[in-house]
């Protein structure tokens, strides 16, 4: 019996879809059977981030409404046999499915897969209720910005009200140079405020944009820090004890010289 993980955040644009794609890919790369479900009906994006947008025939709403069999709607990943995507419908809205239907779907998927990764839409309304309905565990994504942390706090409250206890925190887009100057909240500040366990930290990394452009999840990029961070998170999810990446910035000679002469930037 597999496990259903919902990736949520409250605020939009903090990296839920990127995180879903990379946790899914990371888990598949270590041999797990994984299905990613995009529940952002009307605004689907997990397909383009994964580079699978041209293969969609049926979608989540088709499955739930019985227009096709579950197997027909699952899109096999290009890179991993054991990785599948169930895309969201693009022409319907969040009310096209109900939490009960999601619950049933999750039960079915759990029987076939080790991990079911649910990409939750932004917001706290119907889409959020659908995405969390069948989940066993939750991952809350935030960035070190005041608005994202505030919304994460709200989401943690709502998850607990929905009996999804002990959500895990993923801090995205940390910029070590800004943290060093005191101009960005650091990991400890955010954990202190939200008071939940940390799953991992992803540094701001241009490789994320480049990999989305190409439709190749960054978790497959062996040279990027963000890719390494996502692979580590995938292994932590399977229960391995992996230490946090050190995000120390290498200032280089120029940086050291500037510091010597009293420049901060």
């Amino acid at each position: 019996m597999g496990e259903v993980l919902v990736i949520t955040s409250g605020k939009g644009g903090v990296g839920k879809t990127t995180t879903s794609a990379n946790i899914g890919t990371g888990l598949a790369s270590i041999g797990k059977k994984v299905v990613m479900v995009d529940t952002d009906i009307g605004l689907r994006n997990l397909d383009v981030v994964m580079g699978l947008e041209n293969r969609i025939v049926y979608d989540l709403v088709d499955v739930v409404q019985g227009n096709c069999r579950l197997k027909q709607a699952l899109i096999k990943d290009k890179r991993f046999e054991s990785l599948c995507l169930l895309p969201a419908a693009q022409t319907k809205d969040k009310s096209a499915i109900t939490p009960e239907q999601m619950k049933e779907l999750c039960v079915k998927l759990k029987q076939e897969f080790d991990y079911v990764i649910i990409d939750c839409p932004a917001g706290i309304e119907g889409g959020f209720k659908n995405a969390t309905a069948g989940a066993d565990k939750a991952i809350v994504v935030t960035t070190p910005e005041i608005s994202a942390v505030r919304d994460a706090d709200r989401i943690i409250g709502l998850l607990e009200a929905a009996e999804l206890r002990n959500p895990k925190l993923l801090i995205n887009r940390i910029r070590p140079s800004m943290v060093k100057k005191g101009d960005m909240m650091d990991i400890d500040d955010i954990i202190d405020i939200l008071a939940i366990d940390l799953l991992g930290v992803i540094p701001e990394d241009e490789a994320i944009v480049i990999s989305s452009n190409r439709g190749e999840p960054v978790a497959l990029d062996m040279n990027s820090q963000a890719g390494q961070a996502y692979r580590n998170i995938a292994r932590r999810i399977t229960g391995e004890d992996i230490p946090l990446l050190s995000l120390e910035v290498d200032e280089g000679i120029l940086g050291k010289l500037k510091k010597f002469f009293g420049f901060n930037e």
């Binding site: 005041i146 942390v149 505030r150 409250g157 005191g182 101009d183 960005m184 500040d189 405020i193």
Partner: protein
């Protein structure tokens, strides 16, 4: 520009401290409004304790959070009817 700042001896707090302080205040309110039950439970517990010392007007009791720019205060307005002689 930093050199100028240091020259005049002005200490500007790092912006992350401002963010943390603003978050702390706003979350007190967010959390209380997500769960109005919290204030209701607190009120009941307070009334229980106070009732052992004095007779109070339970219906006229109000417990709220008041906030200013720099702090949040728990404000309780509890009309006293009679003080017990212990």
């Amino acid at each position: 520009m930093d050199i100028l700042g240091k020259g005049t001896g002005k200490q500007v707090p790092p912006s992350k401290n401002i963010a943390k302080e603003r978050l702390r205040l706003v979350l007190v309110h967010d959390r209380a409004s997500i769960s109005p039950q919290l204030l209701e439970d607190l009120k009941e517990d307070m009334l229980k304790v106070i009732s052992t010392y004095m007779e109070i007007d339970v219906k006229g009791t109000e417990v709220t959070l008041n906030s200013s720019d720099t702090s949040v205060a728990l404000v309780a307005n509890i009309p006293v009817l009679k003080i017990n002689r212990i």
